[in-house]
């Protein structure tokens, strides 16, 4: 086995953030008072990790603004579900509207932040998150294309690499695209990466990792601005 591969293997065995920690990290990106849509997967965990001192208004594409926590057993009303069919609650000041108005909000630039899962993010901020090439069945788009086209800030939460060790941050997406040049920030189990006009910038890095190590698991060049601070979760 060549030295390089041995090194890669060792890298793959180093501890990374958990899915919950990725969510916790992304929660720190939400400003007080923001209107926010959370997609399926890791983003859906974010609501559990909001700093206590801020209020965020969660939007659901089925026509809810001001979604609260999930309903407790016995509290469920199946006319009040989120985009994943899960019964939820409301916070005071919530509102309902139809699905066209819900996506007027997503597409029209009214959401301050949207957080989606991702299969690949390119150097330019292209997102692929709806279809795995060769997967069986019809696939489905849902609200992801409208949301990613319209949010003022789009954060993608995902593992840094696939189960096979392939980078998910890439030069050009090879998976079917969701939206061109839409991603602002990628939060992974290894790093926080900003998409900037000058390219990808490594903003924060997982404890115990070096920028060089993260670069080796990344399919596009990562710029750094001085020393890259280590991720500190509260």
């Amino acid at each position: 086995m060549p030295a390089e591969t041995v090194q890669e293997k060792a890298l793959l065995e180093k501890p990374r953030l958990t899915r919950e920690q990725i969510a916790q990290l992304a929660a720190l990106e939400l400003p007080d008072g923001a209107y926010v849509n959370l997609g399926w997967g890791i983003p859906n965990l974010i609501a559990n990790y909001l700093p206590k001192e801020i209020t965020v208004y969660f939007h659901s594409e089925n026509g809810i603004l001001g979604m609260g926590r999930r309903a407790r057993p016995g509290e469920e009303d199946y006319d009040l579900v989120d985009a994943m069919k899960v019964p939820v609650t409301l916070i005071p000041g919530a509102s309902f509207f139809n699905q066209a108005d819900a996506h007027l909000m997503t597409r029209g630039g009214h959401l301050d932040v949207a957080v989606l899962g991702g299969f690949q993010v390119s150097e330019k901020g292209d997102l692929a998150n709806w279809k795995i090439p060769g997967a069986k069945g019809s696939g489905g788009i849902g609200g992801a294309m409208d949301i990613s086209a319209g949010a003022k800030k789009l954060i993608v939460c995902m593992e840094h690499i696939t189960k096979d060790g392939a980078p998910k941050i890439v030069k050009n997406c090879t998976y079917p695209l969701t939206c061109l040049e839409c991603v602002n920030t990628v939060v992974t189990d290894l790093a926080v990466v900003d998409v900037t006009p000058e390219g990808l910038v490594l903003r924060e890095i997982a404890p115990g990792w070096t920028p060089d190590e993260v670069q080796r698991l990344t399919g596009a060049p990562l710029k750094t601005k001085g020393r890259v601070p280590e991720i500190h979760l509260p």
Binding site: N62, L80, V81, A102, H103, T106, S138, G140, A144
Partner: protein, 225 residues
């Protein structure tokens, strides 16, 4: 004056012919016209084009219609992980699918409702969705032309209706229903409660009566699937 209220589900859907284009409301298990769908299953209509966010949840929602091979073409945004009957038909090429981003699905129906002939959007540019569509730059942005989606019927679910057809919806069971009610030539609503004309506050009507043509009260099967 022609009455809009029908006394049975079967009577309410009797007008639907084979080959009809039908919009079906509902999202995430809420606001589906499950009772009307069951009546369509009983009626046995064939070759339906269904316009719906998803494609059923096992036997529920549109599930049985796929199981019975009543639907030949679907325009949908997210067929769904539990749409097994649809997926089987799709794999067997017995049903064709036009995948549309969810908000664009809403807007294309609204364009039909509003008498617009098409619109440009950035959504889908550079993706599979853009294939075969006109692309141009407007306002400095790449965008594609999307066309209205018309339908013969909308099957919707509401909470309350008065005899004229004014509707209200409960909570997030509103979703696609008001848009579809506006977009189709004939809108058939199943409702939980029939209330006297004048008992819905004019400011609180969610779908004005002009968009509703047939109403039937239906209990049970609230959350099928």
């Amino acid at each position: 004056m022609k009455k809009k209220v029908y006394s049975s589900l079967d009577e309410a859907v009797a007008v639907v012919p084979d080959g009809a284009r039908i919009m079906f409301g509902g999202f995430g298990g809420a606001g589906f016209p499950n009772n009307l769908i069951q009546a369509l299953v009983r009626k046995g209509v064939k070759n339906i084009t269904a316009i719906s966010n998803n494609c059923g949840t096992r036997d529920g929602e549109l599930g049985l219609m796929f199981k019975n091979n009543q639907i030949k073409h679907v325009i949908a945004s997210f067929p769904g992980p539990h749409a097994n009957h649809f997926q089987e038909r799709f794999a067997a090429k017995e049903v064709t699918l036009d995948l549309v981003p969810q908000g664009i699905l809403c807007e294309r129906m609204r364009a039909a409702a509003a008498g617009l002939q098409g619109f440009y959007t950035t959504v889908g540019v550079g993706t599979e969705v853009a294939e075969g569509k006109e692309e141009r730059v407007l306002e400095g942005k790449r965008c594609i032309l999307e066309m209205p989606i018309h339908a013969d019927f909308a099957f919707i679910k509401a909470h309350k209706a008065d005899g004229l057809g004014n509707l209200t919806y409960r909570l997030a069971a509103r979703n696609f229903n008001p848009i579809m009610a506006m977009a189709a030539k004939t809108t058939i609503a199943e409702v939980e409660e029939l209330v006297p004309v004048g008992s819905i506050e004019p400011e609180q009507v969610m779908t004005p009566a002009i968009f509703v043509h047939r109403i039937v009260q239906a209990k049970g099967l609230h959350y099928a699937g």
